[in-house]
């Protein structure tokens, strides 16, 4: 059996941190993606402009730089804010910007931009006839969105969503750089202390591989289910 030199439990905890981080960022990015896609497809010029700026900015900057900016900059911003609040209102307000929160916020924001593009394409793929029919039945805008657009758009969004999830999962490794004790961080410390890099990094690589391979199967299954009612052309 694999001998982890007593680092086994720490690696296990690290793996759980990685998974928590990935799911929380996914939730945030899907929410941002839905908002962003709605903004891009809306009539309002301002909303369109904001959404376009957001996706353009995010896609131009590396994830690590963004993460460093949020982590180090976030703390400075909070400090400035708490100084201001203390001076203005004499209220003691402080908030520690920890690496986990910075990680979730950064990864969520980055993938929110990719999700925006995915969902925008998927919304456009829903036939206009469907929406017209819903309006003819007297559905409100919100009901049209929830009952007609959302269920039909998901089928088109799934492949892109799955891809984004796979990339997101691998991006979580970056949080080890800003000091979060995820499994990469634990493996790095163990590898340095024991001078055995292969021994610790290769198992961690296989955990990632298992996660991505498992996700791939799950996405395939979901895709099959979502496309049950669709006749596939050969």
């Amino acid at each position: 059996m694999l001998d982890l030199k007593g680092y086994g439990p720490a690696l296990m905890d690290g793996a759980i941190v990685t998974i928590e981080l990935a799911f929380l960022s996914l939730a945030l990015s899907v929410a941002l993606g839905l908002v962003g896609a709605s903004a891009k497809l809306s009539q309002s010029r301002v909303a369109k402009g904001i959404a376009t700026t957001y996706t353009t900015l995010i896609r131009g900057v590396p994830d690590l730089v963004m993460m460093l900016l949020f982590y180090y900059g976030g703390q400075v911003a909070v400090n400035m804010l708490s100084d201001y609040i203390w001076e203005a209102y004499e209220i003691d307000f402080f908030f520690q910007f920890d690496p986990f929160i910075s990680g979730v916020v950064t990864i969520g924001l980055i993938f929110g931009a990719y999700m925006t593009e995915t969902f925008r394409g998927a919304f456009l793929a829903v036939e206009t006839g469907q929406i017209e029919a819903a309006r003819a039945y007297g559905f409100t805008r919100f009901h049209t969105f929830r009952r007609i657009m959302l269920p039909q758009m998901l089928r088109h969004a799934l492949p892109g969503l799955g891809n984004n999830w796979q990339v997101l999962l691998k991006t979580t490794a970056l949080v080890s750089i800003i000091g979060l004790t995820d499994m990469v961080r634990v493996a790095e410390e163990a590898a340095k202390a024991e001078r055995m890099p292969f021994h610790f990094f290769i198992p961690v690589a296989f955990v990632y591989l298992a996660l991505t391979a498992g996700s791939e199967l799950f996405i395939k299954w979901l895709d099959k289910r979502a496309n049950v009612g669709v006749v596939q052309g050969s």
Binding site: G60, P62, L64, L69, G73, L174, F198
Partner: protein, 240 residues
């Protein structure tokens, strides 16, 4: 306006000629690293993609395994394995390889090259597999042998179909190269981290570097759009 800029430059302590030079050196390192890994990666990926489409599983299988492993794990882990791992290989410190791999630049180059080659292989494979069958039949009817078919028909047509996905990979690689700063390379991100820790000014250090990356990204996007227009010239509408 120039007065305002001059005044601002005189007032601030961070963006002096010295730090600007640090950023410039970082930019040179980033571009150097990314360019080399992309070029070598592409040269490795073309033959691998062809092998990947071969029917014999003993030929295509190992290539599939390689791309699967490198696409299924984070680049950071690959970099750590190569950077920390190479030094641990027994006897390497006595060979001439040590002269090369002792500097962090080359382990990072190796990791980036292997990673981008894996993604590029899959992009090219996808483009080769979707070659319209008629094109190959026509080439056969003209009596072209396998090699000539590849060189004259399959690969040029695959390049046209793959260029868009490849442009994404190039930008992805530029952004991924930021992790080189983790193994003590002073690339753009490394320069920003040094300047951040010297002045404790996260906004100045990181927003400036973000703008540098953005400029590089937009240059790449523009160049690839030109290339795409050039490659897909024959598909442009006559009156378009």
């Amino acid at each position: 306006m120039p007065d305002f800029i001059a005044e601002w430059l005189n007032q601030n302590e961070i963006f002096t000629a010295m730090t600007i030079m640090e950023y410039w050196d970082g930019m040179v390192t980033t571009v150097h690293l990314v360019f080399l890994s992309l070029v070598i990666g592409l040269l490795v990926a073309v033959p691998l993609a062809i092998l990947r489409t071969v029917r014999n599983p003993f030929v295509s299988g190992p290539v599939w395994l390689y791309t699967y492993l490198f696409r299924g794990t984070p680049l950071l882990i690959q970099l750590y394995i190569i950077y920390y791992g190479l030094a641990q290989i027994e006897g390497i410190q006595e060979t001439f390889w040590w002269e090369i791999f002792r500097e962090p630049f080359y382990p990072a180059l190796l990791a980036f090259t292997l990673n981008t080659a894996a993604y590029t292989t899959e992009i090219i494979r996808g483009a080769i597999v979707s070659t319209p069958h008629g094109e190959i039949e026509a080439a056969k009817a003209y009596g072209m042998n396998w090699f000539m078919r590849m060189r004259r028909i399959v690969l040029p047509s695959a390049a046209r179909r793959g260029v868009q996905a490849y442009s994404n990979e190039v930008i992805f690689m530029l952004h991924a190269s930021a992790i080189a700063s983790v193994v003590t390379i002073v690339d753009l991100t490394g320069a920003a981290r040094n300047i951040y820790s010297r002045f404790y000014a996260p906004f100045d250090a990181f927003i400036f570097v973000a703008l540098c990356y953005m400029a590089l990204t937009f240059i790449l996007v523009f160049a690839f759009r030109k290339l795409e227009n050039h490659l897909l010239k024959h598909q442009r509408p006559v009156n378009g």
